[in-house]
């Protein structure tokens, strides 16, 4: 029942860890998010040091997103062109975010920035998605679908005035290539500050700002997350020695199956139902984080590292 983790230097119940992987992988397949914003706190709750939890989570997301992306690729749900622009922006934004954290760590303000960014971003994204999905669900399905059509996206005023206008066939939208690049960069900055892959930020950006169809959003988000997490896994293993390979294997044993089940479940749910479910999860995490920073912690000391 137990397995010793050579990097985390602790022993865990492997069935529990596989179950955690399964649950978070299910979210990954269902919503196209990496699940880092959920997995890292859950791993910390079972005794994994924060830095190991965050880095190892990136490693298991490689498996879950590869598994999910493979399914979506077979179904033709990945917009590679859009994904590459988002990814390029994300890499640059991520590098900028890492430098910002380094500067703030030196002045002692990093923890405050990270937690506040989490609460504000999760709160905003969760609330917006919840309200928007609720309104859409109340309307008829035809009206809800209409918002994700190419013709609507083309009406996006400012976007159409920018240079480098590009048509994204898979998503059926046309706007400047700078748009996904800049938005990807913005998400990359936030993802680096928050220590997560950025899926839960990227998905709303693709739905509401890039006006991509929901099924393409999930596949493309997984594509972007896959490459981001490959980069993070290598850098964390190489520079910080914080990737626990055995922990990652346990997690991915659960998450890859969870991702497949999530993809199948998603097939049976309407886009707005998916959005409202995701928004409820994001809001629940926000409430937990607010309580964590407002209520006095049980212990005022902790090991260095993590958030």
């Amino acid at each position: 029942m137990y397995m010793y983790l050579p990097i985390a230097l602790t022993s865990v119940n492997y069935l529990l860890v596989i179950a955690l992987g399964l649950s978070v992988g299910l979210l990954s397949g269902l919503f196209g998010v990496g699940g880092g914003f959920l997995m890292t706190p859950l791993l910390m709750m079972i005794g994994i040091p924060p830095t190991i939890a965050a880095a190892t989570d990136a490693n298991q997301i490689v498996a879950a997103s590869a598994s999910g992306m493979f399914s979506h690729w077979r179904l033709g749900n990945v917009d590679y062109k859009m994904g590459i622009y988002l990814l390029l922006g994300g890499f640059l934004g991520g590098a900028a975010g890492v430098q910002a954290i380094k500067l703030l760590s030196a002045t002692g303000g990093a923890d405050f920035l990270i937690k506040m960014t989490y609460v504000v971003m999760l709160g905003l994204v969760g609330s917006f998605m919840f309200v928007e999905s609720l309104v859409a669900l109340k309307k008829n399905k035809g009206a809800a679908k209409k918002q994700t059509t190419a013709s609507d996206a083309k009406k996006g005023g400012l976007f159409s005035m920018l240079p480098m206008q590009t048509h994204f066939d898979k998503s059926g939208v046309t706007f400047s290539a700078l748009v996904p690049f800049v938005l990807g960069g913005f998400v990359g900055v936030l993802a680096a500050i928050m220590g997560v892959g950025g899926g839960f930020l990227m998905v709303p950006v693709m739905i509401y700002m890039l006006r991509m169809p929901m099924h393409v959003v999930v596949g493309t988000s997984l594509f972007q997350i896959l490459f981001t997490c490959i980069e993070v896994t290598f850098l964390q293993a190489y520079y910080n020695r914080t990737v626990d390979f055995l922990l990652a294997i346990l997690l991915l044993l659960g998450s890859v199956f969870g991702a497949q089940i999530g993809t199948m479940l998603g097939k049976k749910l309407h886009g707005d139902q998916l959005k409202i479910l995701l928004s409820i999860i994001v809001l629940a995490v926000t409430v937990k984080m607010v309580l964590d920073i407002v209520l006095q912690p049980a212990n005022l000391l902790s090991y260095a590292g993590g958030h």
Binding site: Y2, F70, I249, L300, L301
Partner: protein, 259 residues
């Protein structure tokens, strides 16, 4: 000449008397200490291990068993209120001259086994540790707070600091035995096992042994790879994750779907 002087009977007796008076060990009872196992291997299924410490002491003596690491400095982040509202990590505290693991077991309540002086002299109990630890902030002044109590709470939560009274069994012939569950949270390294016997609040004898905790097999190999071949380790972690991800994706190839 000088050698003859040293060897005269009077000088020998005098030297012997001085030695006896100066060395408390000579007045102490013979105490033995045996730890089984002395080597705790960390294998893949490791989740702690039962450890037995036993030996002989003078009949009627109480027994104290202390398991600890060598004192060192511990750097820990501390949380405080930022802006008077939010609990945040505000900086680092350094706890100097304190063991990272401290497990104390006794045959009776510790304050009845040893006097406060004896406890302080032998670093027995948390109060004795409190007197030797020095707490400093990494930058600036030490923030207000009972940081030693916080340190104890943190270590107790990790199960690597504990004082357990009455769990050392002593028989009428002076034999003692302690069985404890070695905490899996205790990191690989060498741990000193000290046995102190006492009567009427005073130390009557001492013995020690050690326990070594070390990784073996696949656990050791992975740890070494992650430490000495970081690039290979990172690439391996990615390749395995990709292989598993695509393999499972292929197994479920009929199950995918769009939203």
């Amino acid at each position: 000449m000088s050698r003859c002087k040293l060897l005269n009977p009077f000088s020998l007796l005098l030297a012997l008397a001085v030695l006896i008076a100066a060395s408390p060990a000579q007045s102490q009872a013979a105490v033995s200490c045996q730890t089984t196992p002395a080597l705790i291997p960390i294998t893949l299924g490791y989740h702690g291990l039962p450890v037995e410490i036993k030996g002989e002491s003078a009949p009627g003596d109480d027994v104290v068993v202390k398991i600890s690491t060598a004192p060192a400095d511990a750097h820990l982040k501390y949380k405080g209120k930022a802006g008077g509202i939010f609990w945040m990590k505000l900086g680092t505290l350094i706890f100097k001259n304190i063991p990272s693991t401290y497990l104390l077991s006794t045959s009776a309540p510790i304050d009845k086994v040893l006097t406060a002086d004896e406890r302080d002299q032998n670093s027995i109990g948390f109060d004795a540790l409190h007197k030797v630890v020095k707490i400093e902030a990494e930058h600036g002044d030490l923030p207000a707070g009972d940081w030693f109590t916080e340190f104890l709470n943190f270590k107790k939560h990790e199960q690597i600091y504990a004082v357990t009274e009455g769990n050392v069994q002593v028989d009428a012939k002076g034999g003692y035995r302690l069985t404890l569950d070695w905490p899996y949270q205790a990191q690989p390294g060498k741990y000193k096992v000290e046995v102190i016997t006492a009567r009427n609040g005073r130390v009557t004898g001492k013995a020690d042994s050690s326990v070594t905790v070390e990784m073996t097999g696949i656990v050791e190999k992975i740890s070494n790879l992650a430490t000495h071949n970081r690039a290979i380790y990172g690439i391996l972690a990615i390749v395995v994750a990709l292989a598993v991800g695509f393999a499972v994706g292929n197994i479920f190839k009929k199950g995918g779907g769009a939203h």
